[in-house]
């Protein structure tokens, strides 16, 4: 049965508000998603009834908080098909998850002359950690080029060699909206004996993602882009790999025994969770996953892609609009990236804001990609399960009106 996307809008309190006297049309979910009441309630309920620090408290609240936190880990593991709960590490976000692997695996395993393969699509968070690592270890970054808005798979065999140690790729481009076919990357990594890292910050909120089916070694995502709270992200990894990696951050929780001059490490997953973890955030994330699964990830994918496809089609009929990203007949994620000739994306976003429409404008943390495309930035509208046909209509009419208005300012 198709979920009632129109009815679920009432689950999101923020959609009731107005902006500049207009109905809020929120089209910036690729930056962060809005939160349903059940997520906010879960966090509040945790603080009102079970708040305590986890793992070392013997008292009732400590036991409850620990059960909720570890229960959230099991929930995440089931949601993304993690092989074992030991391979699910809570971090502050996808960025920290990537940094964890770069710092822990990278510093211990990478040698001079080794190569890390990325794509030109990558968000800075899946570029800079590897850049820092490569500089430190004398390794080299190799980039698979982007052609016609998508990763050029024909360059894979040239870019992945016996020097490749890791391939890190986004599953869904935050800047252009293309969905990366992951199987060719997995096969290339396996053939080269390299590890395979998937940045799923945009994919996990919007499509069914299964760690085992992808066949990757690492997968990272953030809670706040998938209806959950800020301050929590996840690294899913093969536990055997995590066993062989040194700790990332030091502190409480990640240790087994400590002396003044040395220490031994806790078991997985806690070896990689130094300090008090994001407990209420994990509780909120688990509630978000319950909510998403209640709707169904396949239906969410279809809904977002339909809105983004509708937006792309309507925008292409507006004079002077250039679309970036996947071509019409290709599968796309729930976002559309574009420019209006002679109009700076920031001015467009500011004009749309006057209509209550929130879009993103700029380089989308993908400066190398923007340079490749020969532009400073784009305007981006990103959709989620709470957007509807009314939002799409308001957006398209808003762009046409804003473009006319901004052009009129020049003369």
């Amino acid at each position: 049965m198709t979920p009632d996307f129109e009815a679920l809008r009432k689950d999101f309190p923020i959609l009731q508000r107005t902006v500049h006297g207009k109905r809020l049309v929120y089209l910036d979910s690729a930056a962060t998603s809005q939160k349903p009441g059940v997520v906010l309630d879960a966090i509040r309920h945790f603080y009102e009834t079970s708040n305590a620090n986890v793992h070392r408290s013997v008292h009732t609240l400590g036991e409850e908080a620990t059960a909720l936190y570890e229960g959230a880990r099991d929930r995440v593991a089931r949601f993304v098909g993690a092989p074992r709960r030991e391979g699910v590490i809570f971090t502050r976000g996808a960025t920290e998850a990537i940094n964890l692997v770069a710092a822990s695996w990278g510093r211990s395993a990478l040698k001079e002359g080794d190569e890390i393969v990325l794509t030109e699509l990558e968000h800075h968070s899946n570029l800079i950690p590897w850049q820092l690592l490569a500089k430190e270890r004398g390794a080299r970054l190799v980039f698979i080029p982007v052609r016609e808005g998508e990763v050029d798979l024909s360059a894979l065999s040239r870019c992945v060699t016996r020097r490749s140690r890791l391939i890190a790729v986004t599953a869904l481009s935050n800047a252009l909206g293309g969905i990366t076919p992951l199987a060719p990357f997995r096969e290339a990594a396996q053939a080269a004996g390299a590890l395979f890292f998937v940045d799923a910050a945009q994919a996990v909120p919007h499509l069914p993602v299964d760690f085992g089916r992808i066949g990757c070694d690492f997968l990272a995502f953030s809670g706040h882009k998938m209806l959950g709270p800020n301050g929590i992200g996840v690294l899913v990894a093969r536990p055997e790999l995590l066993e062989s990696m040194p700790p990332f951050m030091g502190g409480g929780e990640m240790i087994r025994e400590v002396w003044t001059d040395q220490a031994t490490w806790n078991r997985l997953p806690w070896k990689f969770e130094a300090g008090t973890p994001p407990v209420s955030e994990a509780v909120g994330l688990a509630a978000a996953i319950d909510y998403l699964e209640g709707i169904g990830m396949e239906a969410i994918r279809t809904h977002g892609a339909a809105l983004a496809g509708g937006a792309a089609g309507a925008l292409s009929s507006i004079k002077g609009v250039t679309l970036y990203g996947p071509k019409e007949n290709k599968e796309r994620g729930p976002l559309v990236s574009f420019n209006c000739e002679g109009i700076h994306p920031h001015d467009l976003a500011a004009a749309l804001d006057q209509e209550g429409i929130a879009i993103r404008a700029g380089h989308h943390c993908a400066q190398p990609l923007m340079r490749t495309l020969g532009i400073a930035g784009t305007a981006r509208a990103s959709f989620y399960l709470y957007n509807n046909a009314g939002d799409l209509k308001a957006f398209v009419e808003g762009v046409a009106k804003a473009a006319d208005l901004l052009r009129s300012l020049r003369s």
């Binding site: 700076h344 920031h346 004009a351 006057q354 700029g362 923007m370 400073a376 300012l409 020049r410």
Partner: protein, 127 residues
């Protein structure tokens, strides 16, 4: 409309001092890391370190282009010392625009670029 103010819109429509100089004494270029906007400012000095001519190139939004034009017009005839003493808040206030915090850097980028150029010139190294 969108609170940019008439002055900025006027300079956006009819930019003053857009372009480059054949042999500038000071030149500098930088980007706004938030959005990727890019501004280049060039200065020709006259006697007493007075700005004889100023030019800009701005690959940016209306605010960034307008503010670049206004800035080059305003500093022409001023000494470098006077420019260095110009508080950013005064420049911002003089634009008569209703700017949200996230857009303030759009108009301050040209001033930052100018100051960085002057600082390099002061250090006596070629930019």
């Amino acid at each position: 409309m969108i609170g940019y103010g008439e002055q900025i819109l006027d300079h956006y429509r009819r930019p003053r001092n857009e372009g480059s100089l054949p042999a500038p004494d000071i030149w500098h270029e930088d980007v706004n890391p938030l959005c990727g906007d890019r501004v280049r400012i060039e200065i020709q000095l006259g006697a007493g370190e007075r700005v004889a001519a100023a030019r800009f190139r701005s690959d940016g939004c209306i605010l960034c282009q307008g503010a670049s034009s206004i800035l080059t017009e305003r500093i022409t005839g001023l000494t470098l010392g006077a420019i260095e003493a110009l508080p950013a808040a005064d420049f911002l206030g003089s634009l008569q625009a209703d700017l949200k915090p996230n857009r303030v850097q759009c108009v301050l980028l040209p001033l930052d670029v100018l100051r960085a150029g002057i600082a390099t010139y002061r250090r006596g190294v070629s930019p």
